[in-house]
Subunit: 732 residues, 2 copies
């Protein structure tokens, strides 16, 4: 039999929440609380052994069995070695679920170690009490775990499992292990339920709500929701103004265009500030420094210049050469994608609007087909290229890897989303007529279609509405349907199996143990979760940043863009919560102190918007619904001049706003400084009289300086200065 | 009689250098060393009392005498209060020289206090030993002064004198005191001599030389020389290439133009890095944080958000509104200056080249007159405006005040230096012909003058050569002459005085005391130094940065510009040394961790150069000495396009270079991190077993993890996992 039963697991988990180490499992039962059923185990390791998983090389069954058993045993040994407890349950005929949990002592040790690492890397603010604690001998120290959040607990554990042994971990990483398919924490049904309930029943998500998310899902996910919420609030401005301009103003309003650029600057700059503030509030500032190496990072062993330990090292020069080599590749990909999009766009325009000849009724559908076939594939290729490149650039930490990957991927995302609007605005409408004439030379008959900026507006409308509808569907409805389908499939399988009356090993194994009913239910839930896809926050970021693009780059074309975005995001804020809770595995909490690549992408978009707004207004302002309507202006010189001006205006504004914000420290910053100063002062006060003027001495100089006026009258009597003054002032 | 004689002063100064506190003045004489004669006293306070210095309000002699005596006494009392010693000597009939010096004990106290302030503000790297010392009680601590440089000593003293009493100083500041004209340290003749000797006899100034300057004149001056040296080295590249292009290539070489832009980027970016490195090497990183408030800073008392002490406060919002209000003013000034320069330029061109009529021979000189009259005055006005504005913006520290002042002043400097070249390049040569024709309409007779780019080259040549010659003269020859003249004047005065046989009080007072011959000589030297102007390093920076402008902005016009600059700077490096040593008072050493505004000015010039080079090449490439000569290209569209491209290329390059350099830590940075880590590790090692895996635990995880393989065979026998694997792999 295994070392213990679920109730042991449960009690030791309760211990993890508990302050005290003492107490038998009996009195611990008092703490039992149905809400925490899902926390029977902290993490589940999915061990797959269906043949031939062994790198495609087919091997004989007995040999394979030996290998599998060895691998399984290896996993257990590694877990035991770092002091983790486990309990295995088979699931289906090719999977083992290894429930891992962390006894309180181990958790405490890991927490201590983590806090020290943080302190060493300068993550946490040196807090008097904390620092003092570090200097205390063990028995006196009480590393209380009550400030340890759910997220922290799971993060510490998964680090302990995945880190390399030389970094103090068990060294079990899915990407490195043939049998370990994945490691996942389990959803807290109760939490998710209350989360969704509270968010779906209130209009405005507040700080507490967000901090709850952080405690449960960790900083990385929390940052996304913070950003989404912040962005939603900022959208209010362009929404309101957009509605006004749309109803009362003329289209292509210069006023609105200028406003949008300014808005974009303020939004990005203030978010930078907000982001820093959060990092300080959450004590994750500088956290990237503590990141462990990626398992797939390749480096030659060398002495760390700072700590002197031998560590894998990869020359930044090499990395930079590789990066620079990558640039042309990315550009090539971008070019290819652009050409494809342009081609499809051309055909579409031609067929839908002008073509009037043979087979029109069928050909009309060609563009959609092309679009849905060609572009996704090309985009996919481009993305795989960027994956390869980033892997090749060989980054040391997951953070920097992700950063550079997303930077590349986003280029392609942006192209696919914005290209056809750009084409309409800068090529089709201005130069459409010439295009037609050229076609006419080839004697193709045309339906008389007027080319005017309304097309541009319609295209944007279509994009805003369809894309958002689609994304909503793909994120919430589709997964739900597929899940339903799966369930059905499984049921049918079972029935078949039962018809062939051989009970699946799952049931077999379950009957073997006298698990409680709870436990059985629990196992079922776990299997469901294992089948879910992993959650990638970057996809959500991409969606939001691209949307920000539509607003800041193009909303001057159709001022209601902001409104669409606003509504969408109000829903998004909730649907994403649902997505994480039910349509994805529970993500392993990870820390971060920035939204990383997405901040830069936002800024690049904002910069670019200073060009699009200026040029669109230059081309189309007053082309429609005004008394003196005229075609788009085409003077290159003036256009470039407009661009030059608006871009430099943008840069100047950004600089000023940035400087202003920097000159105003956030409350969080002040708080940090206060505490740092507190630490130093407290140290000083000990050395107090040592320096002669106690703790208050220091930044503001001597506290008390002898204030009595020395009596110099005696000396002054025959001081050369006094004599000189007297005689001189007499004689003058 | 005064409290002591010079030999006492001398001995206590020796004490200041000495490690030990004990020993009678007798055995201290052993240390006497003729080289240090000039260090009789550390600082000299110049006390002027010629009537009516009392804010212009004439007062009766006795009253004025009383006031003066009171003021004098006040000064002495303040000095005594902070523990400084003094000795007064009259000089002339309206000046007292108060020789101040700092007993060892006081210096020790100040040094300690300063090091604590630095530590509190996070300037110095927390060094184990240092920090430990701070925590020792006084008697055990030995604040040794041997790492205290000459510069540090003087800086500490002048701070002690000028700081406000609530900041622990004597609160004597020339800007705040009617009688205190100035406070200056005395030149070290011997040092200056050896300095000049060594530099003028070697081709290349090396690190040691520069560090000697730093120890003697402080970081601020040292930074200037470091920069000058660094810039000189970097000039080698454009010099060499320039010569090649000039001799073999054609003028307006595109290759050279591109090179210059790239060069400018690399120079500015690498200097940034070098600057940081120096700050770390010199332990002045973050030093700006310890700066005391400017005496002229006006603020309402408020609690410091960090330390909680009551301090004068000025809202950054107010400051920003004032700044923004200032912008139009500065622009106005710039506009005015521009118009004046343009007008003069126009007249000059007209008279010198075209005008052929009545009174030509006299009118030819009009431009010079105008130039020398109008422009300096307007520039002066503009500068005084910027002084006012900066004062109005009310900055807290001298550093930030200087920064924003220099930013403004530089705009006017740049205009005066570059405007006429810009006019020639972008207005005169392209549009000259039209101008002529317009004039001709007014029936003014013209000498036939051909307008071609040679003019541009000639103008630049003239600027490079004349300006540099002038600056050399004004910096070295003129001051020397004026000094000579002064000496003569004084002599004559004396003779007159003697003729009227009333001996000046100076002699009178000197005869009163039995000062040594040395002392007499010394007093003469001091008077000489008091008469010298103060040294302002910013003027030298301005000169260099403007010169950098000529090279990066315009050298594409005349590639030998680099060569001129190179030669000039080789001399400059030495002549500036001479200037500081002999043509100026010894500057009070002050610390800094950057060349501040000048770095930004450099970057703005570099940015701007991406525009000038592109446009000049676009306009003039191939206009002369090529087979297919043609007039300047005038297509606005293409020109703007060229600008757009080159500017964005510049920005991209700058970004990449910046990123690359950031990713490569300097040796100094690593050293700092190493020591920080050392401190933390040493603290850890104490708490060693407390955490369970000693000091090596931390960033790289558990040092030793139990490596013995736990024996699981017993459990594995009836582990559900093992059973499942066995059964499944059999049945498959």
């Amino acid at each position: 039999m295994a070392t213990f039963r679920f109730h042991d697991i449960y009690s030791s988990t309760v211990k993890a929440h508990d302050k005290t180490d003492k107490g038998t499992s009996e009195d611990l039962y008092k703490h039992i609380n149905p809400r925490t059923l899902d926390v029977y185990a902290d993490l589940v390791l999915v061990f797959k052994y269906k043949q031939p998983t062994l790198k495609g090389v087919a091997v004989s069954k007995p040999e394979y069995e030996k290998k599998t058993l060895a691998a399984y045993q290896d996993v257990l040994i590694r877990l035991t070695r770092v002091g983790l407890q486990y309990e295995t349950r088979p699931s289906g005929d090719d999977t083992l679920l290894i429930f891992i949990l962390c006894p309180w002592a181990v958790l405490k040790r890991e927490a201590t170690r983590a806090s020290i690492n943080d302190w060493l890397a300068g993550v946490k603010v040196a807090d008097t009490s904390e620092t003092e604690q570090l200097l205390q001998p063990a028995k006196e120290r009480d590393q209380s775990l009550d400030q340890l959040s759910e997220a922290d607990r799971i993060r510490l554990m998964s680090d302990l499992i995945t880190n390399m042994p030389n970094e103090g971990g068990a060294g079990i990483h899915p990407s490195h292990h043939d049998y370990v398919e994945s490691i996942l924490p389990l959803h807290d049904k109760a939490f998710n339920k209350s989360w969704l309930k509270s968010w779906s029943t209130k209009w405005k998500v507040n700080e507490q709500d967000l901090s709850r998310v952080r405690d449960h899902y960790g900083e990385k996910v929390a940052y996304y929701f913070e950003f989404l919420q912040y962005y939603l609030q900022w959208l209010a401005a362009p929404t309101a103004l957009g509605v006004l301009v749309h109803t009362f103003g003329s289209s292509f309003s210069i006023f609105y265009g200028v406003f949008v650029i300014i808005w974009a600057v303020f939004f990005t700059e203030t978010w930078k500030r907000r982001e820093k503030e959060l990092a300080l509030l959450w004590k994750v500032h500088n956290v990237s420094k503590t990141e462990m190496r990626r398992p797939s990072f390749k480096g030659t062993m060398a002495a760390d210049p700072v700590t002197g330990d031998m560590v894998p090292f990869f020359s930044p020069w090499k990395r930079w050469t590789r990066k620079l080599l990558g640039i042309p590749v990315v550009l090539g990909g971008a070019l290819a994608l652009t050409t494809v999009i342009t081609a499809v766009f051309g055909i579409e325009v031609f067929l839908t609007i002008y073509y009037d000849g043979y087979l029109k009724e069928y050909l009309i559908y060609a563009p959609m087909v092309l679009y849905s076939l060609a572009i996704p594939n090309v985009a996919a290729i481009c993305k795989s290229i960027s994956y390869r490149l980033t892997e090749y650039e060989n980054y040391e930490t997951r953070g920097s890897h992700e950063y550079h990957l997303m930077q590349k991927v986003f280029i392609f995302n942006a192209l696919t989303s914005y290209m056809s609007i750009l084409l309409t605005a800068y090529v089709y409408i201005p130069y459409g007529p010439q295009v037609i004439s050229t076609f006419q030379n080839y004697g193709i008959s045309f339906s008389s279609a007027t080319i005017d900026p309304h097309m541009l507006q319609n295209r944007l409308k279509a994009f805003m509405i369809t894309t958002q509808a689609i994304s909503f569907a793909t994120e919430t409805i589709v997964p739900w349907l597929t899940r339903r389908a799966k369930v059905q499939a499984v049921k049918i399988q079972k029935e078949v199996a039962e018809k062939l009356n051989r009970d699946t090993h799952e049931d077999g194994s379950l009957t073997v143990l006298e698990d409680s009913e709870d436990a059985k239910k629990f196992l079922k839930r776990v299997k469901k979760q294992v089948d879910l896809p992993e959650y990638d926050v970057n996809e959500d970021y991409a969606e939001m940043v691209l949307q920000f693009g539509y607003v800041s780059l193009f909303s001057v074309i159709w001022p209601l863009t902001g409104l669409c975005a606003f509504i969408n995001n109000w829903v998004e804020l909730r649907s994403d919560a649902a997505k994480i809770s039910y349509n994805a595995r529970r993500p392993i909490p990870s820390r971060t102190d920035t939204i990383g690549p997405w901040l830069d992408n936002l800024q690049h978009i904002a910069w670019f918007s200073s060009l699009t707004n200026a040029s669109i207004l230059y081309l189309f302002h007053g082309t429609i619904d005004s008394t003196d309507s005229h075609g788009p202006r085409l003077g290159l010189g003036m256009l470039l001049f407009t661009l030059l001006v608006s871009e430099h205006a943008y840069l100047a504004l950004r600089m000023v706003v940035g400087l202003i914000l920097d000159s105003l420290p956030t409350e969080a910053e002040l708080d940090v400084r206060r505490r740092e100063f507190g630490v130093k002062r407290s140290w000083l006060s000990r050395a107090g009289d040592a320096i002669g003027y106690g703790s208050a001495g220091g930044v503001h100089g001597l506290a008390k300086r002898a204030d009595e006026t020395p009596d110099l009258s005696a000396q002054l009597e025959n001081d050369f200065g006094v004599q000189a003054i007297r005689s001189n002032l007499k004689t003058n």
